[in-house]
Amino acid sequence: MSARKLTVAAAFVASALSSSALAQDLVVRGERVFTMAGAAIENGVVVIENGKIVAVGPEATMEVPEGYEQLSAAVVTPGLVDAHTVVGLTGYSNQPDEQDFLETSSPIQPELRAIDAYNPDERLIDWLRGFGVTTLHTGHGTGALVSGQTMVVKSVGLTVDDAMVERRAMVAGHLGPGALGEGDKAPGTRPKQIAMLREALIKAQTGGEKDDKPKRDLQAEVLRDVLARKLPLMITANRAQDIMGALRIGDEFDIDVVIDGAAEAYLVLDELREAGAAVILHPTMTRHFGDYANASFISAAALREAGIPFALQSGYEAYVPKTRVVLWEAGFAAAHGLAFEDALRSVTIDAARIIGVGDRVGSLEPGKDGDVALFDGDPFEYTTHVIGVVIDGVVVSREAN
């Protein structure tokens, strides 16, 4: 192989392996720039160097560096953050061999790691990225009492390590009819679910105290990190009684509980606020069946009005379509009582904070990752297009989607 060919090959490998390796210096202009860290900027500029944001402000008051690649759009926002998905663990063709988000062999398996199942080559990741989604909180899903761990990744990368933002974000749990055992398998009822979860937490608590050199127990190690509040327990709970059950667990063990789904959260707003729990709300357009029978398009607005921190998610889809897009879920919330910027916050900075990566992504501020979404109009309008996506300073999409 000639030296030139080798160089080309090496460059190709580098670009595929790591986005930061090829991070460009970029100037992104927006007629309106929503930084999510202060008021929107008219005729604003975002300057990115080596993958990080170095300056943000009105063009009139800034020295914009020359020689950088220039992008411009009617509206510029931070790259969008999907606060909860199973994309990467659930394949888009929906065949059994690519569905790794739920292990049903046992109801409590916190030792299952998202990093051991994530397929960064999954087509749905490309799909979401094309609509401005740059950060994903993904991993084990709903359907088991404790299904495993979640992580935070960027929507690029050849391997999970390339994509990694946070290897362990939360432990995923689920209370309610959606997480009951098949047939005679426990848990078969709601109180059994709570009893089993309490037992597992108590066992982890006491197991660590018994002797100085406890045998390694992967399950207990993870639950101990939950008990030590190093990891939040994200509990999917949709019916009001399941939400209250989750809050009761949080209170008993003094752990951080994040309520996921929360279809009936609007019935227990005071309780959620008093507990200080954050909510990762179901997709605004979720189907109003089963546990979501009483879901409402105005739940996001109700949470905002009650002062409860929340984010929107794409959630889990068992059939067609195989994933939702948080851009559209936020838009639908904005059309149902949530203020425009609050809706944008629910898929940028508020989502980033709830999943524990608010210091890196979710807003356009110096020092943060160069993740940007560009739009040719109001981002939430059905007929607007995403016209550019930047991750860590690399332009990863230039299509109009």
Binding site: G290, A295, I298, E317, Y319, V320, P321, K322, E381, T383
Partner: protein
């Protein structure tokens, strides 16, 4: 002493659901709105006059009847009610798993007229819907053309043929959904086609014969072969679309391609044979093998090829309240604005054979229309009112009705279409 009619009217008010004793008798005029008639140019500052449940006149500067009740609609947009060409509201079901071809089964025998999902669809602007059995069968039964009036019994919300019988199409399917382990069901695509051909050949013989003994299945198939009953053919992959058209060409039934996820790949062939497509646009590809190439651009591609294209909900795949959203997404990916609005209204009416009754605002047609507070394709626009045959059946300003637009506690438990969803809200096979 109150007459019987007054008593009945009182009972209706208490029940809050009843068939109107008489359609509205005094003309009502809606003035000052932008009117999208779907039968011509947009009318700025127009007037719509309705009487007796029908459109009397529509236009700018038209004559207003002296006795008309006048409603100020300035700032509003008025357009025809949505015709949803593929829906599963009302807890509909059809064939059972005992055999793959069951033309004798009627959707009308399963639908619950009180299902809250009907009220939700009305809040979403749907005034006519083709309510169908599922797709896990080669032929799952007779579909039901629903007019979303008030109604206590299925006949109250039916369209009727001239002979007074209940109108509908025939649901068929190919591709993976009807391929099932159950006894008698096909295991391959070719077998699916062969089973259908065999059955239609047998029906041809019956229909041409003496018909001495009644045979419910063959009677329905005679209506299919005679062109009275339109076939709504669930099909996804481009080759399956071609198979559906091949069967149509052989037996001469009237065909509407339902879903047709990959129909855009053979848009020219579909256009060449004047085959209509009832399309659906989903938020992402995948979820099943046949939806792997789903594209938001599909509706626009079909439109440019000259295909009569409608958009449908397949409720509960897409909630009936998201119909305008689909039109918006279609425009995002290349359909014209006018084409997308026609895909929600008149095109669907034509596909169902109901264009003389619904789908546009023209004199003599049913007074089914929506009052919107802005651009129909904007996410921020609300449906303020839904009128069906001259009656306001949804009013966003009334909190008791507004809940149907948003959902929430009190919006009612929906009757699940068993074909589509299991008890936990998760999809099972056979729906899409």
């Amino acid at each position: 002493m109150p007459n019987i009619r007054t008593l009945l009217a009182g009972a209706c008010a208490l029940a809050a659901i009843c068939t109107p004793l008489a359609a509205q008798e005094r003309p009502i005029v809606f003035e000052g709105a932008i009117i999208l008639t779907m039968a011509g140019e947009t009318i700025e500052n127009g007037a719509l006059v309705i009487e007796g449940g029908k459109v009397v006149s529509v236009g700018a500067g038209i004559e207003i009847p002296a006795d008309a009740e006048r409603r100020d609609m300035r700032g509003m947009v008025i357009m025809p009610g949505i015709v949803d060409t593929h829906s599963h509201i009302g807890g509909v079901s059809g064939a059972d798993s005992s055999s793959p071809i069951q033309p004798e089964v009627r959707a009308m025998d399963s639908i619950n007229p009180r299902d809250s999902r009907i009220a939700k669809a009305r809040a979403g602007g749907v005034t006519t819907a083709n309510v169908m059995p599922g797709s896990g069968y080669l032929m799952s039964g007779q579909t039901f053309y629903m007019k979303l009036r008030r109604g206590q019994a299925i006949e109250d919300i039916a369209f009727l043929w001239d002979d007074g019988t209940v109108m509908g199409g025939m649901k068929m399917a190919n591709g993976t959904n009807p391929i099932r382990e159950a006894s008698g069901f096909p295991k391959t695509r070719a077998k699916s086609a062969a089973l259908v051909r065999t059955r239609l050949v047998a029906a041809q013989a019956y229909c041409e014969g003496e018909k001495e003994t009644r045979d419910l299945a063959n009677e329905a198939l005679c209506e299919v072969l005679g062109g009275k009953r339109i076939v709504h053919f669930h099909t996804h992959r481009a080759d399956d679309v071609m198979t559906a058209m091949r069967l149509r060409d052989e037996f001469g039934f009237r065909l509407v391609i339902q879903h047709g996820m990959e129909s855009y790949k053979v848009a020219d062939r579909i256009a060449a044979s004047n085959t209509p497509v009832s399309a659906i646009l989903v938020d992402s590809p995948g979820g099943k093998l046949e939806a792997m190439n789903a594209s938001l651009a599909a509706a626009g591609i079909l439109e440019r090829a000259g295909v009569l294209t409608s958009l449908h909900s397949d409720d509960g795949i897409i909630d009936s309240r998201l119909m305008f959203r689909q039109a918006g997404l279609a425009v995002r990916a290349g359909m014209t604005r006018q084409g997308a609005l026609r895909a929600l209204t008149i095109n669907g009416a034509r596909q169902l054979g109901l264009a003389d009754r619904v789908g546009s605002l023209e004199p003599g047609k049913d007074a089914d229309f929506l009052v919107l507070d802005g651009d129909p394709l904007s996410v921020y626009t609300d449906i303020r009112e839904t009128w069906v045959e001259g009656e306001k059946l949804f009013d966003l300003a009334d909190p008791e009705q507004a809940i149907y637009a948003t959902g929430g506690y009190g919006a009612g438990e929906d009757t699940l279409p068993g074909e589509v969803l299991d008890h936990s809200g998760e999809m099972i096979g056979g729906g899409q």
